[in-house]
Structures are given as C-alpha cells and as structure tokens.
C-alpha cells in the first residue's frame, strides 16, 4: 500500500474550511500524547487547557481582552501575507504605536478633553504605520528583504521602550521602578463588564469585518490578491508594486499600532518594560489559522487566546510551565501549514495489488528490484 498525494484540479472549498479545524484537532491529539508521556491524564489536561478558559465569566472576559489585539494585528497581517509581503515585525509596530499614543497621557497628563482619546488612537496608528513604513521603504527603494528588516525593528522598538521607561518617561514618584506614571482616567479607554474588556474589542470587530469586505469587493483588495498569487500578472494588470507594498505595510502597521495603544490605554494603564506577551508574533499564527482572511482572524484569535489562558490555567492546576503554551502555538502553526496542502492536493491510497510488475527481479544491466522498490518508497513519502 502506498499513499499518493495528487494535485486537485481546483482548490477544494471544503478543505479551505476544514483544514484549520483539522489543524486544531491534530494539535489537541499530539498535545494529549505529550501530556500522557509526562504522566498527566490527557483528558483532564485538554479540559484544563482548552475548555476551562471558557467556563467562568472572569475567564471569558479575560479571553476577550487577549483576543482583541490578536484579531486587530492578525487581520492586518492577513492582508500583508495575501500579497506575499512578510511583515513579521508587528510586535515592534505594536510597541511603536503604544509609545506614540502614550506620549499624550505622559507628556500632557492634565489634558482632559473629549479629543484626547481619539488623538491617542490616531497617534498610535500613526506610530505603528511609521514603524512598518521603514521596511516598506527599504524594500521599495533598495530591494531589502522585509522579513529581516521588520523583525530587526522589533528589537529597536523594545529597547526604545525600555530606555523611555527607565529614563525620560519614568514616573518621578515611582520609587525608581521602570514604569511611567499611571494614565489618568480620562486617558483610559471605556470599558465593559467587570472593567477589563475595553473599546479595542469593538475596533477589532470593525477592523475584521471592514477588511474582509475590502479584500473581497474592492479593486485595491483584488490588486493585493493578484500580487500574492501571480506577481507578473499584477504588473501586467497595471498595478503598482511599490504601491501595494506601501499600502499593505501601512495598514498592518496601523492596526498593530492601534492594538498597542489600546493595550496601554486599556488593561495595562501605563508604560512598562513589557507591554505585550508577544501578541505581534502570535498574530502571525492567527492570520494563518484564519486562512489569511480578515474574518477568519476572529476564529484564529479566539483559538490562540485560549492557548494563552490555557497555558496559565495549566500552570496553576497541573503545575507545568506556562511555556507549554508556546509548544502548543508551535504545533498549531505546523499543523495549519501542513493541512493547507490538502486544499490543493488530495491523498489517495494505492493498494499494492494494482502495481504488480511481472518482470521485477529479472532486469537486464543489473538494475535490481531493490532499487525500484526504493524509488517507490521515495515517491510514497514525498
């Protein structure tokens, strides 16, 4: 018997929906094996990891808090990745947005106006856009690889934040802790429920829906999709290559910046050396889990937020490191990319009986049957 991977004539619509679900299922399966190996009851562990975050009101609110930045960033990255532009520096754009937006509550803490919050949000988006504009500029102007430049700018942003909260923006009354002043109430986003869920959640919903319509219905969205599918066709269609690069980096940077300012003006409430548990990187998985569709990012964001919370719950209940969450993230990304093969290809089982070869073993010129079997095996595994 051998397994043959066959190209489908067209992309399978069923698999486009099923592949992310399959990836989640496979991650759970492999996860339970890992738990079992470590002597933890796999069913209980999966419950703690994936179900318990959904069982109390507190944890559901916490879930929304974590989903918010993941969806904001993931929806923007989905557009970038669709154009084959690899912005993997969203974490840096998030920090840049947080810094730009936080300049108002820190430098003008007494400015109490209805304009303050919109100004902070706009500055946040602007900051993220500028940070993402650097790799776009370098790529358009010099052909520099945007993967490297956007990633390296993450570290620049992190050190800039670190320097600001230890230096010029440190709270003078803060006992030398590396923190800015706490933002005044009028510089914090409106909240819902118990006070953790904030206005950013609404922005995330709007962004995902608007970008989905944008990609499906507008000429610019078409242009971006053509660029990713067939770059020569996009030039032939008369679309500007630098133009799409600017646009994609601009929009994903702005959304990452918005996520950043929403974090510091929401759950965090001030600047500190760490303002994000790697949302910008996790959002890469969110985008892929959502099949690079902005609406799909809602689903992807939910799964990965559960992963974060599940990691914390597992630390408390099962006494295993919360780093397990990162293992799960890694497995998830691996399985998504693997399962995506099934959109373009299907697996067929070929039974040995159909492949009889009467002459095997008596070939002239010393070509043994062994070599032909190895070739078969090679084909089957490839």
């Amino acid at each position: 018997m051998k397994l043959v991977l066959e190209k489908r004539p067209e992309r399978s619509r069923t698999m486009q929906v099923a592949s992310p679900l399959l990836a989640v299922a496979l991650t759970m399966l492999l996860g339970s094996i890992l738990f079992a190996v470590r002597g933890i009851d796999p069913l209980h562990a999966i419950y703690v990891y994936f179900i318990s975050p959904l069982t109390t009101l507190w944890s559901v609110e916490e879930l929304i808090v974590k989903v918010t930045p993941l969806v904001l960033i993931g929806a923007g990255l989905a557009i970038c990745f669709r154009a084959n532009l690899w912005n993997i520096g969203a974490e840096g754009q998030l920090i840049a947005g947080a810094l730009a937006g936080a300049s108002i509550p820190i430098l003008a803490p007494q400015w109490d106006s209805a304009l303050a919050i919109p100004a902070m949000l706009l500055l946040g988006m602007f900051g993220g856009m500028v940070w993402a504009g650097v790799p776009a500029l370098l790529r358009n102007r010099f052909g520099a690889n945007e993967i490297l430049t956007s990633l390296m700018l993450v570290y620049v942003a992190q050190y800039l934040l670190d320097w600001l909260v230890r230096g010029p923006w440190r709270d003078p009354q803060g006992f030398n802790f590396p923190k800015s002043i706490g933002f005044n109430d009028w510089h914090l986003l409106a909240t819902f429920g118990d006070g953790r869920v904030h206005l950013g959640a609404v922005f995330a919903l709007i962004a995902a829906a608007a970008l989905a319509v944008f990609m499906a219905r507008t000429l610019m969205g078409f242009e971006i999709r053509v660029r990713g599918e067939a770059p020569r066709a996009s030039t032939f269609g008369g679309f500007s290559v630098p133009g799409t690069t600017w646009f994609c980096f601009g929009i994903s940077g702005a959304l990452a910046g918005l996520a950043g300012i929403c974090e510091v003006a929401g759950p965090v409430g001030q600047l500190q050396p760490t303002i994000s548990p790697g949302y910008g990187f996790t959002a890469i998985i969110v985008a892929f889990l959502g099949r690079l569709n902005p609406l799909g990012a809602l689903f992807g964001g939910l799964v990965l937020a559960i992963c974060y919370l599940g990691g914390e719950a597992a630390q408390v209940e099962l006494s295993i490191s919360e780093k397990t969450a990162q293992v799960f993230q890694g497995m998830l990304l691996f399985f998504i990319l693997t399962c995506d093969t099934l959109v373009r290809c299907r697996v067929r089982v070929e039974w040995a009986a159909r492949r009889t070869s009467p002459a095997e073993g008596r070939l002239p010129l010393g070509i043994g049957s062994a070599s032909s079997r190895t070739a078969d095996a090679g084909e089957a595994t490839s």
Partner: protein
C-alpha cells in the same frame, strides 16, 4: 554505437505494450502500444495534450505507468528512474534544456557523466564526438553566450557520449532555424544509420514526412494510427492527428493599409537580468489594417520587446514607442490600454491570467481601467464582471466544466481563447500578441488566428510575435525577423521565403562564439 544484433523476438529494440497512465480522473495514456526497431527514426505525432510527453516520460523512467509494460530487446522490465534508463542506453533531449548558464560546455557535460572529472580528457572527447557527428562545439565556451541551437547541441552531444541505443528527442526543431534543423536531421540520419533508434516527438508534419521511417499518431491519449509518413500527405497526417479537417484561415480581402498605429523608433534597452537579451536599435512600424509578424527563434529578445511595448518595462525615451500617434515610452500599461492598445503575453499561467482566480476575476485583471464600469468608486461590480466573462466565453467558444472556473483548471487552448477574447472584446486599435497559439490545440489555434486576421481587417494594427513560421505565413501581411535583440526591416509576406527568414534568424550568430560574447557585453 551498438550495431550488433539487438536480440528480441521480432527484432524490436523497444516495445511499449498497452501502457495506461492516469492522473486522478484524467487518463493521459489509454492502452498505448509502440514498437521501435534499431536504426529506425520513429515519429510520435500528436497535438499538445495528446499524451506524447507522458508516454516518453514513462519510457525514460520519470513516470511509472498505471498499467501495461515495457520490453527492451524483448525482455520485460520496469524503468524505475531516468538513471536506470540511461544505464539501459536510453538518452533524451528535452524541449527545455537543463544547462547551467554560468558554466562552460564541458562543465555542463561533466555533470551528467559518471566517474571522476578529468576536464581535459572530457573536453577532448566532446570536441571529437561533436565534430564526428557534425555538431561542432567549443568545449570551453560559456553556455550563457551560446544560441539556443548550440545549447541543444550540447544536450545531444551529452547523450551521444553515453553511446545510446535509443535517443528520444522532444520537439527538437521548435527552437531551431530552418538551417539548424536541417543540420540536426543530418546528424539523426547518421545515428540511425549506425543502428541507434530515434524516437522523434513533433507536431510539425513536413519534417516528420522528411525525416521519419514510421509514425505513431496519438489523439486524446490513444493510438489512432500507425503509418509510414513518407507515403502520407501533410493533410492526411493532420486529419489523423486532429480527428477532423483543420480549418485554414480565410485571409479576406485586404484594403490598403492605414497609417502606422504602433511605432518603435531606435529602441535600445539593456538586458533585464544577467542572462536576458538586450534590445539593439529596434525600429518598427505596424500599420492599421495589417498583421505584422516578428519571426525569430525563442530567446532572441521577443519577451523583452513585448514588455517594452506593453509598458511593463519603461522605454528609455517617450518617443521610442508611440501608440496612435502618442509618445508612450514612459507611460504605464494602463495608460497604453486607455489609448486603445491591448496586449497578450506568451505565458498564460501567472502572466496573462492568474491561475488560482476564476474567469470573471481574470476579466478584471486587464479590464478594470477600461470604460466598462466594472469598478465604481473603488468597488468591483461582481455582476458586471461575470456578465462580461460570460460574453467573452460565448463569443470565443471557451469551454469549462463549471461557471467561473479557476483559470488554471482550463486546458491551454481554452484559456488562450479566453485571454485573447478578453482583449479582442474591447475592439482594440492596437494589439500586440506574443506566441498566440503556443501550446494550443489545432481547433483553438485556427479560431485565434482567424480572430487576429479579422481584427486587422476591421482596422486594427496587429503585431504578432511568433516562433511558428507556418503560423506567420498563414496570417501575416508583413514579416520582420528578430535575432539577438536586433530587428530586421519588415518585408511584405509574399516577397520573403523561409530560406531568407532562416538567414535573418541566424543573423549575427553565423560568426561563432567569439564575437558573440563581445556583442553581449
């Protein structure tokens, strides 16, 4: 070269018996049988997609049959991979060469020769064998500096060094000038005379009649005839190959041509990449009402010329390209389309169409800026785009299994009809088309050629860039020849013959590798 008795029951060197190959639901070879004798030049004839390539890939070991068997000298065997085929004595020259541009001739050959690398000895052998078979090669020349014809010689010599008993040639003359093709035929006849069998794949009927002793004709994966081509006519072979009479293009009455609608003046352009072709002082006028053809062997600057005409690459000065009297050298492709020009590039998948998109979205690709109201304030009107796709599909007989099917799932002929139809549907004043019927079945090719001629008769200036001389003589009013990035004057089609075109195609290349290298740098 093996001239001894090849054994076997009936003296056949290679027998393919009832070969079946399925790809999913598609049957590429359906119980195909083929017998080749030593010393025979055996043609495998068929349209694109008839299953010729699949069959030879099975013989060469790069595909395994789903059913059926091969015999070699009477012995049944499986050929698990190309290396095993080479050990048996099967050599193959592919249509697309596998040569490294940055290496010399002898280095490229050394990569395929097993055993330790002794450059001087091998160079001496290459020089000797190539001379012996009338395929002179300079072993130390850099492949990048060589013409396509000479590159093919490297592939042939590489096979000859392994002393093959069966040589498979896949569409070898597609890249050759008529003179180069004749030279190749001399070599093949000589090989056959020495007892080597040649399996010759082609869809060019004249050369099969001239060269081959036997022809197996495939249609839609099946053998439809086994004939002696020398006793057939071109039209009887064509009928067998296509399964119906092939319509010839109706040239229609010509009025006096109008003024030039597309002009190129003194256009020079550096090579786009390390192995691209620079354009050298190209001048051309395409008149309204006429089909002007640019003939030439592949890789002589045709793609570069197309890109600079379409605006995908800007020209050095505004005046070097004019469309409808407007200087266009620095205008982009959208502005040129707005002036009434339309373009069809050579490569369908990924250039003229996006393979993963449906037909309607592929309409949008080149029509979004035209005056069809497909886009309003940035939003695409799905209904209008689909209606336009339907209109084009009906008008140009595009067949698909599902409405708005992915472009990549269409056959080459159907997709090309769609792509050409998308542009002709706009009634362009200027049409530039590169290799209009490359890889397209005969029925679709006839329809496309007729549509091009009709468009010209309706007053458009049509520029056809093609490697296919039969096609050019069928539709062109004027012919120019491109060679090494330089374009000849254009001649009325009835005043120029194949011989003359062949000379122009060879152009500066007659001089040999030395001066060529200078010309490129």
């Amino acid at each position: 070269m093996g001239t001894t008795d090849h054994g076997g029951r009936c003296g056949y060197l290679l027998e393919a018996e009832e070969i079946v190959k399925r790809f999913g639901d598609f049957t590429a070879n359906d119980r195909v049988s083929l017998r080749v004798r030593p010393g025979e030049i055996h043609a495998l004839l068929g349209e694109n997609g008839a299953g010729k390539s699949t069959l030879v890939k099975i013989i060469y070991g790069s595909l395994q049959p789903s059913a059926g068997r091969l015999r070699w000298g009477g012995e049944a065997l499986t050929v698990p991979n190309p290396a095993a085929a080479r050990r048996l004595g099967i050599g193959m020259v592919f249509q697309h060469f596998s040569l490294f541009d940055a290496l010399t001739v002898v280095e490229n050959i050394a990569l395929a020769v097993p055993g330790p690398f002794d450059r001087d000895a091998l160079a001496e052998r290459v020089a000797r064998v190539s001379e012996e078979y009338g395929l002179p090669l300079d072993p130390t020349a850099l492949v990048a500096d060589l013409s396509v014809g000479v590159r093919q010689r490297i592939e042939v010599v590489r096979c000859l060094l392994q002393e093959p008993r069966l040589l498979i040639m896949d569409e070898p003359t597609a890249v050759l000038t008529p003179q180069e093709a004749r030279q190749l035929f001399v070599t093949l006849r000589r090989l056959a005379h020495e007892g080597c069998a040649v399996l010759y794949i082609s869809h060019r009927l004249e050369e099969v009649r001239e060269l081959c002793h036997h022809a197996t004709i495939l249609r839609q994966g099946r053998v439809v005839a086994d004939v002696d081509p020398r006793s057939e006519t071109v039209s009887s072979l064509a009928r067998l190959m296509v399964g119906a009479d092939v319509q010839s293009v109706n040239p229609a009455a010509r009025e006096a041509p109008g003024p030039p609608a597309l002009t190129v003046t003194g256009l020079s352009l550096p090579a786009g990449g390390p192995f691209g072709v620079p354009l050298r002082d190209v001048s051309l006028q395409v008149r309204s009402g006429e089909v002007t053809a640019v003939a030439g062997v592949a890789g002589n600057g045709q793609s570069e010329l197309f890109e600079v005409l379409s605006g995908e690459r800007p020209a050095p000065t505004p005046e070097s390209v004019t469309i409808a009297g407007q200087p266009c050298g620095e205008r982009d492709i959208t502005e040129r389309r707005r002036l009434g020009a339309a373009f069809v590039p050579e490569e369908r998948l990924g250039h003229s169409a996006v393979p993963g998109f449906g037909l309607s979205e592929n309409v949008l690709l080149t029509r979004h800026a035209a005056n069809d109201h497909l886009v309003r304030t940035g939003f695409v009107s799905g209904g209008r785009v689909r209606a336009l796709a339907d209109r084009i599909s009906t008008r140009f007989d595009v067949r698909f299994s599902r409405r708005d099917q992915e472009a990549g799932a269409l056959s080459g002929g159907n997709l090309q009809k769609f792509v050409v139809g998308r542009e002709l549907d706009r009634n362009p004043r200027v049409l530039v088309i590169n290799q209009p019927t490359w890889g397209v079945d005969a029925g679709a090719a006839a329809l496309i050629r007729q549509a091009l001629v009709d468009r010209a008769r309706d007053g458009a200036a049509v520029l056809v860039i093609s490697q296919d001389l039969d096609e050019i003589f069928e539709i062109a009013d004027r012919i120019a020849v491109i060679s090494r990035g330089a374009l000849s004057d254009s001649y009325p089609a009835h005043t120029i013959d194949r011989e003359r075109i062949g000379m122009l195609m060879a152009g500066a290349r007659a001089a040999g590798p030395g001066p060529e290298r200078d010309a490129r740098t």
